[in-house]
Symmetry: D2
Subunit: 156 residues, 4 copies
Amino acid sequence: MRIHVPIPLRWSDFDAYAHVNNAEMLRLLEEARIQAFWRPDEGASGAATALLDARPGAKTVSLIARQEIEYLAPIPYMRAPIDIEMWIGHIGGASLDICYELYSPTGVTPRVLFTRASTTLVMVTASTGKPERIAEELRHAWSPYLEEPVSFTKRR
Amino acid sequence: MRIHVPIPLRWSDFDAYAHVNNAEMLRLLEEARIQAFWRPDEGASGAATALLDARPGAKTVSLIARQEIEYLAPIPYMRAPIDIEMWIGHIGGASLDICYELYSPTGVTPRVLFTRASTTLVMVTASTGKPERIAEELRHAWSPYLEEPVSFTKRR
Amino acid sequence: MRIHVPIPLRWSDFDAYAHVNNAEMLRLLEEARIQAFWRPDEGASGAATALLDARPGAKTVSLIARQEIEYLAPIPYMRAPIDIEMWIGHIGGASLDICYELYSPTGVTPRVLFTRASTTLVMVTASTGKPERIAEELRHAWSPYLEEPVSFTKRR
Amino acid sequence: MRIHVPIPLRWSDFDAYAHVNNAEMLRLLEEARIQAFWRPDEGASGAATALLDARPGAKTVSLIARQEIEYLAPIPYMRAPIDIEMWIGHIGGASLDICYELYSPTGVTPRVLFTRASTTLVMVTASTGKPERIAEELRHAWSPYLEEPVSFTKRR
């Protein structure tokens, strides 16, 4: 089971080669991650997995420990939002691996896989800066999305 | 032997946590890579390794195939340029692994290692889109900077 | 009559003060302008005003000649898209003034006006770089949205 | 008398037209403004005009109230830093108009004026959010740079 998040591109995501800039790719992952895992605004409804509290003053913060990206095909300019598939590749004591595959917009054929990526988040107690065990409530909500981590094919 | 490139931060590199944004980190690597490996402006002098021609219309283009980053310590706001160390972790037929370590500004003690990263570039013939063997002239210029690839410690 | 475009913010739009960065504001205007005035993707439907062809190779290009922005209230982080109102403040021979008011998301009360802005676009023939008279078809489609230009109150 | 600040461009400042993106221009102004008017890092030396304290927790903050930009010529990719000239167009009770002209790098002939701009800053007491009179010490340090405001030629 995967989480699907449509992410609209912006004209400013494109570089002088008219493709989504390699660095901007991390911003697209960030937006998808926020929509899938961060609590929505007060009063709004969100995904069942959107349980992280990232507001200023939250007791627990999630830090990014690592990221890995394979660029398979350049992303050309398009107005329809790209389709980002997400799942969880690993849940450790205090850390979480989020996996991503970035595809062409829903309904466009043939479907193109542009990018594969993963991000490791570490939960940290804001007041002490120490890693903090992921709560059972979060493990429970996330477990349906746990599957094999993304397979990177270009590692050396 | 390593290439040292000082890269000034910009205020806009910082996110709402007052640290260099994780995505912005790739822009810092990009700037360091350009200064180390791209040919300088007409008439200007550049590093001995700065041999790639990235001007519009160049016969060979270098595409980014993968990137990997480990975030070890957040980068706080500072006006002095950070010190990016670069070396080459692998030269294949048509591809090149550039390795990075991002350190606190030269002269600041104790020296802090903020980030480790690597980028795989693939040389491609612009007219055909096919991988192209890296020229002997480039291999020769780059070989003094060839050493063990960066050791990532957080891979799963 | 005004054009309303909802524009989702991104986490990366925020600076170390936790407000939308002043420079990023121009990217929000850019996205709104593109959705209101640029032709949609092949096969997609767009606004009645979306007639400009910005694809590579288009015969006419629109260049930005000036921009003016008044920041009335900082934009805090929110997940609902902000509501950008747009209209046309002036149509000249070859140029067009687009006016903007950036408001809190639709449905949020009380409604807050964050920013007022305007952009002057000049139509230019791509092959010659010379200004080009705006076609009657465009004037006709845009005329319902013509009203008094935005009133800037902080000009010196 | 004007303040000259060299600002290096980044590859990521360029958009799909291979020119500095219109929104990115505000980031270049921001960097120039910071170098000219913000206090340098502890222990570093800065310009005589660099007196504003923008560190977290500072008693006075400077907010941007308005910006105006005229784009005269596109900025092409170059490695040498562009030359940003700055002066003060107006000092009011609590506000300050900074004027900019962006030129081609020092030493390049003929010299090209790419952009004219101005920014209005308002000094605000952090604890109350109320405008605060600019201190005599600042007025004194800035007065040598006071001259006629930038002349915008494209206002309607």
